[in-house]
């Protein structure tokens, strides 16, 4: 829809947005787990037009040695956009925006990982955006969280993220690019740990009152929880054939069996 900004009705009287969504509706999301065979964990995500690939390596020895932390693992989060993921070609050199996003998203993940179990190591999280239409950082962070689980890294909780904000005077969830371009647009990337509701990522740009923020937080958390359900579903999907059977006990103990007396003979 290409119209002059002043004429755009961001939310009409039926509660419909420019792309037909309701004010609290998140764009369609598709999540695939374990898509790369070399990375230890990986996740492919489509969120609206956004196309994102997240991959995890680690914990692996942190080098050079002087950056090692003797008490916990370091998280190295790298958010990058492909040159053709945006309307005007982006130079492949990391931009300041990418560096900032990498920093705050890495910090968001740190709260969710049992870092103290892996001193002197680094957990590398690489996220690449191949197509974009607003909300890439929250989508990337959500995908990264799934990739971490796929890599078998012990976590206290998932990290689920969603954008929320304002356009045309209305508080809306998951702004797309057109909405972000509104004159009064406010964009708030938000990420939480679903179990406790703790906020691990929060940024805002725009002009907004405290009351507006309260509404944003409420809607943003709802959006994050929707993402959480999709992350859960995607992770469990691979194993959805779990049968419930009376032999469940035997199977369980097979997996936890006392291997100490069941090694092969050494000839």
């Amino acid at each position: 829809m290409v119209g002059k900004k002043e004429e755009l009705v961001y939310v009409d009287k039926h509660g419909k947005r420019l792309d037909g969504r309701k004010v609290d509706e998140v764009r369609p999301i598709k999540i695939e787990v374990g898509v790369l065979n070399r990375a230890e964990g990986s996740c492919y995500m489509e969120w609206g037009q956004n196309k994102i690939l997240a991959a995890v390596y680690g914990p692996r020895e942190a080098l050079p040695k002087h950056i090692q932390n003797p008490y916990k693992a370091l998280v190295n989060y790298s958010y990058r956009m492909a040159s053709f993921s945006v309307p005007e070609r982006k130079n492949p050199k990391p931009a300041r925006r990418e560096i900032e996003i990498s920093k705050v998203c890495g910090e968001a993940l740190e709260k969710a990982i049992f870092l103290e179990r892996f001193p002197n190591t680094t957990i590398d999280v690489f996220v690449e955006i191949f197509d974009s239409n607003a909300g890439t950082r929250v989508a990337a962070l959500s995908a990264a969280s799934v990739a971490l689980v796929d890599a078998g890294i012990p976590m206290k909780d998932m990290v689920c993220a969603c954008g929320v904000g304002k356009a045309g005077g209305h508080i809306i969830t998951d702004l797309n690019k057109e909405e972000e371009d509104a004159d009064d647009a406010v964009d708030i990337p938000l990420a939480i740990l679903p179990k406790t509701g703790e906020i691990v990522l929060l940024q805002m740009d725009g002009l907004m009152s405290k009351e507006e923020w309260k509404k944003c937080l409420e809607m943003g958390v709802k959006g994050c929880m929707q993402v959480y359900e999709l992350q859960k579903e995607a992770l469990k999907k691979k194993y959805s054939q779990i049968e419930s059977t009376a032999q469940n006990n035997e199977a369980r103990t097979e997996m936890v069996s006392d291997e100490k007396n069941s090694e092969g003979e050494f000839t």
Binding site: L36, N37, F84, V86, P92, D124, F126, E128, D131
Partner: protein, 261 residues
């Protein structure tokens, strides 16, 4: 699989090749499974993902209007860039393109540029003042061997499905296009690995680890070669090269068919 395990594999690969067999049961002149997916990015003017075995590369084309070079006032140009993403392999480090990425980009570039599959005069908007520069950036997302062929495939597939943006008063009109980029031929790059005394087509990552030398050649449907590149420390005999060129002409036809689908 880490380096130590790959070293173990190398011995087995060399043994196996003495009988002309490969560990994954392929023939010495056989490609792994090849597939192409188009339109990966709506923001790109053209884009494609190529997969050879488990090796995956995504290429995207962005057309930017710019000033022509003074010695070719009525011609646009193409510019190829390679990124070996650290997600693709435990051996890739974050950072600007290193010598491997640079060699990769330049070889893929040569295969396409020298084939004259694109007439740069078609990229002219207004002589002496405005031409199109087609930036083709390809990103390696998973390295399971033979990045060369996969990158070249993704790049040519993206170019063949590139739309030219509409230009009005020297500025791009968003969302409107003036036809497709004319790509008259389809250059295909084929890569061979020299492992001890054997030569095999399309090395996977274990074979890349075992190889001592690499030879790539690009050719078009009229059986003309547009690029050669020998890499690695081993030497090739003239007989090796002949076999590679022959095999390349035959096998590139299969890859070209996949592009047509």
């Amino acid at each position: 699989m880490n380096d130590v395990m790959l070293d173990l594999r190398s011995d087995k690969i060399i043994e196996s090749l003495k009988n002309g067999t490969r560990l994954d049961a392929r023939k010495v002149d056989e490609y792994r499974n090849v597939s192409i997916e188009l339109d990966i990015s709506k923001n790109a003017e053209g884009s494609a993902k190529a997969k050879i075995g488990e090796t995956e590369v995504i290429a995207g084309v962005k057309l930017s209007p710019g000033k022509p070079y003074p010695d070719s006032p009525a011609e646009g140009t193409i510019s190829l860039g390679a990124e070996l993403l650290p997600m693709a392999s435990p051996l890739f480090e974050q950072g600007p393109p290193d010598e491997n990425a640079t060699e990769l980009a330049r070889v893929v570039d040569r295969g396409i540029r020298e084939s004259k599959c694109i007439d740069f005069k078609d990229l002219c908007i207004r002589e002496k003042e405005l031409v199109w520069i087609a930036f083709v950036d390809f990103y390696v997302i998973n390295d399971d061997g033979n990045l060369f062929d996969c990158s070249a495939l993704a790049s040519i597939a993206a170019l063949k499905h590139t739309k030219i943006p509409k230009i009005e008063e020297d500025a791009i009109v968003k969302g409107e296009f003036a036809g497709k980029l004319k790509v008259k031929k389809t250059p295909i790059l084929t890569t061979f690995a020299k492992i001890a005394n054997a030569v095999v087509l399309d090395p996977n990552s274990a074979e890349m680890h075992a190889m001592d030398g690499r030879f790539s050649c690009a050719s078009t449907e009229d059986d003309l070669f547009s690029a050669f590149q020998k890499g690695g420390r081993a030497s090739f005999t003239a007989g090796d090269i002949d076999w590679c060129l022959e095999t390349s002409l035959t096998k590139s036809k299969d890859l070209r068919k996949i592009l047509k689908e």
